[in-house]
Assembly symmetry: C2
Homo-oligomer: 111 residues x 2
């Protein structure tokens, strides 16, 4: 993208790929942060890599958990708006169950 318009495909060279990863990951997380602040919205990113056992995330691990569970409460089917009014009872059970999990994790941390 500079000195040469890079082709968007897997970087074969190990050290080049690592350097690119580190730089782009940093800038990506910065962008997530900026979007969230500028627009006052919830956003998160999770980036796995062979260089860390743990993924790099934005914002904190804890906040990602919150946003992710919000995401998981809205099953894929709702997107296409089939079953929207059906199955309400079951979805409520899922939400409740998720809340319990979150509480469980919280308790576990505090222990």
């Amino acid at each position: 993208m500079t000195r040469k318009k890079v082709k968007l495909c897997y970087i074969a060279n190990d050290s080049t790929r690592k350097v690119t990863f580190k730089k782009r990951k940093k800038d990506l997380l910065k962008k997530v942060s900026e979007l969230s602040i500028l627009c006052g919205i919830d956003a998160c990113a999770i980036v796995y890599s062979p260089y860390n056992n743990q993924p790099d995330v934005w914002p904190s691990h804890h906040e990602v958990q919150r946003i992710v569970s919000q995401f998981q409460r809205m099953p894929e089917m709702e997107q296409s708006s089939w079953m929207v009014d059906q199955d309400r009872f079951l979805r409520q059970r899922i939400v409740k169950s998720n809340d319990q999990l979150i509480k469980q994790r919280k308790d576990s941390r505090e222990k």
Copy 2:
């Protein structure tokens, strides 16, 4: 950032904020995609907004589910390596519980 070095804080004006959101969200998801392709890694992003009921995500909803469940199986406490060997039973219960939730959702979809 151009014509003026914008201050990194909540954009008060509604229409400006919406325009900025749409542009930056598009570019953010593009960046996630590029990082993933260039470096051959798993990454995902979830962006909520008041403009859509559903969050904007990258990659597909289904892939985000996969990455997110990978994330959730690695509790926060493991990061700081306190309680790593403690509390194993409880964590297993959480994982199991989570698996049940996923199965529940799957069943719900298939119903």
